[in-house]
């Protein structure tokens, strides 16, 4: 990727992170940690990888994205705002009683949200169904889903893995956000679902591992996923939970907690807004 584009993407990802903090701070609730860890890959998907356009939201051949780890709605809403689906200022209505920005994504009322999610393990299966539909239609659209590492403890994730492998859904790409932390602690303290690479390979998947915060690595991974025929691809991204906000990084305490005013100011400074 050329240097200028990389700088542009980094700036968009920074603004996505600012939006995440604004949303969670305004709501005084929500999930900043896992939203920040996927901010870079969301930016890459919506600004480089996917064939999507806010002006053509009903285009049947658009690519599809499902946020299977639906609690990271602030990340999704913030990237949708940057991409022009919703006004950036609406992020401040997140989780408010009359807002369309629900605590977890609601496809019925939110432009750009392809699927309602939040109950873990379901979005990946929905994405597999979307990929199957594209195969039935002989269409070249692609389907992407981000799932959490904690989410992969759900049995349904492995049902979906088995299904997509069985039907050779090579138009399907999962991104596993491996930040190593879930609500109650680290994966090894709570319930360790690793190794993911060997499990997905055993179900017939193409597996790629990347640094979640390196656009060159993301670009190479998504290109390799496109090139892979006959198998679905999972990109396992090693990420930092809370990435970009100093006191949130690698702290599971920031899985589902909002910053106070003092912490909000520090976060904004960390993100270059002050």
């Amino acid at each position: 990727m050329d240097k200028q584009r990389k700088t542009e993407l980094a700036e968009i990802a920074r603004r996505v992170r600012v939006g995440i903090i604004e949303a969670v701070y305004s709501a005084q609730s929500g999930h900043p940690g896992g939203s920040l860890s996927i901010a870079d890959v969301l930016t890459y998907l919506y600004f480089e990888e996917m064939n999507v356009d806010p002006a053509k939201q009903d285009d049947p051949n658009r690519d599809r994205f499902v946020l299977s780890k639906g609690h990271c709605a602030p990340g999704l809403y913030s990237v949708l705002a940057q991409r022009g689906y919703i006004p950036v200022e609406d992020l401040k209505t997140f989780r408010k009683t009359t807002s369309y920005l629900q605590g977890h994504p609601d496809r019925k009322h939110t432009p750009g949200v392809e699927m309602t999610s939040g109950s873990l393990g379901q979005g990946v299966s929905v994405a597999a169904g979307m990929a199957l539909a594209a195969k039935i239609d002989n269409a070249d659209r692609r389907v992407y889903a981000i799932l959490g590492d904690g989410e992969s403890e759900e049995g349904q994730v492995w049902e979906a893995a088995m299904f997509a492998g069985h039907y050779h859904l090579d138009n399907l790409c999962f991104i596993l956000d491996l930040n190593g932390l879930q609500i109650d602690g680290s994966l090894d303290q709570v319930m360790d679902p690793r190794p993911h690479d060997e499990k997905f390979r055993a179900f017939g998947w193409n597996v790629i591992t990347v640094n979640a915060h390196d656009f060159d690595e993301l670009e190479a991974a998504f290109k390799a996923a496109r090139a892979c025929k006959g198998k679905p691809t999972i990109i396992i991204q090693n990420s930092v939970k809370g990435k970009g906000v100093s006191f949130m990084e690698n702290d599971c305490g920031w899985h589902g907690k909002a910053p106070n005013t003092e912490q909000y100011e520090i976060a904004m400074k960390d993100l270059g807004e002050r």
């Binding site: 599809r64 699927m115 299966s125 929905v126 199957l132 539909a133 039935i136 349904q156 069985h166």
Partner: protein, 313 residues
């Protein structure tokens, strides 16, 4: 009446028939195609049939993905697994997300027979009724099952269709009219209203004959759509006869009996007695014997109707 046919057979036949007319129709199953009879569709349209293996939760959500891509998916399994095991997938990804998925649930109720309680789902209507926006269809015979399948294809939104394993008589002819949400008055009566659904429609019609022999005049109403309930018809019946017996092959808790009692307690309080599986689990046995064992046959309905009439005084 004509030959007997199980509504699961009717379901498979209807899917295969309408597969030609509706090219977006796709069918999913969870390793039960031989039992749910979706195998009939598979034979006719192998490219639009997808076996999901014994993984119902994934199947339900795959159906959601297909629906969001313009397909009309029928996700099929036994009622126990479609409504029971996968309740939360149905609630969140079909109900709350309001996706155009049709759930074809076969082997509902105790007429599963010898397989016994683990497979006899007497709770599915209750579970589905609690989901906002869910349409619930429970056909009584082959004619109605076919019409229910086409009505489900034509409507936009979540729909749960309930089919049985046991062969039942064909009650309705080619001129039978079926409209979602509209109950069907099958027989007039003045003393008591028998409001029945599914395979209990046949039993209610037989009970009406038993009652007539004793000088009691019973009307019979077929409620094929449990949600949205035809409240106008239910209230009109209560006003006319002054007492109601609901008849269903389902728990007496939360099904048709619950729906009718909720409606009438608010809009026209009259005695409502419920025929159904009491607050117990099923058991193994020949299906027909179980209908009597659990008090769902015509004699049991007639006895309940007399009790309802007595309550009026």
């Amino acid at each position: 009446m004509a030959d007997k046919i199980a509504t699961r057979e009717s379901y498979g036949k209807a899917l295969a028939e309408f597969g030609a007319k509706y090219e977006n129709l796709v069918v999913l199953d969870a390793d039960l195609a031989a039992a749910t009879k979706t195998g009939t569709f598979k034979k006719a349209f192998p490219d639009r049939f997808f076996n999901c293996g014994i993984a119902e939760n994934n199947m339900i959500d795959v159906a959601v993905g297909l629906a969001l891509s313009g397909k009309i998916p029928f996700a099929s399994s036994f009622a126990m697994f479609a409504a029971g095991r996968s309740f939360e997938q149905v609630r969140n990804s079909i109900g709350y997300a309001h996706t155009n998925v049709k759930i074809g649930a076969t082997h509902a109720g105790i007429t599963v027979g010898e397989d016994g309680a683990t497979h006899q789902c007497n709770e599915d209507i209750a579970l589905m009724r609690t989901i906002p926006g869910m349409t619930i269809l429970n056909p009584a015979d082959d004619t109605e099952a076919r019409l229910a399948v086409e009505a489900a294809i034509k409507m936009d939104g979540p729909c749960y269709l309930r089919f049985g394993r046991m062969a039942v008589p064909v009650l309705f002819g080619a001129d039978y009219r079926f409209e979602i949400g509209k109950g069907v008055k099958l027989a007039e009566g003045t003393d008591v209203s028998l409001i029945a659904t599914g395979i209990e429609v046949e039993q209610a019609l037989a009970a009406r004959e038993l009652l007539a022999a004793e000088g009691i005049s019973a009307s019979v109403v077929n409620i094929h759509t449990i949600k949205p309930l035809d409240e106008a018809l239910v209230v009109a019946e209560a006003q006319k006869t002054g007492c109601v017996v609901t008849c269903e092959e389902h728990s007496i808790i939360g099904g048709l009996g619950g729906a009718v009692a909720e409606c009438l307690s608010e809009k026209c309080p009259v005695p409502v007695l419920r025929i159904g599986v009491q607050d117990v689990f099923g058991r193994s046995g020949p299906a027909k014997e179980l209908v009597s064992y659990f008090g769902l046959d015509a004699a049991a309905i007639a006895a309940k109707a007399k009790a309802a009439v007595a309550l009026k005084k």
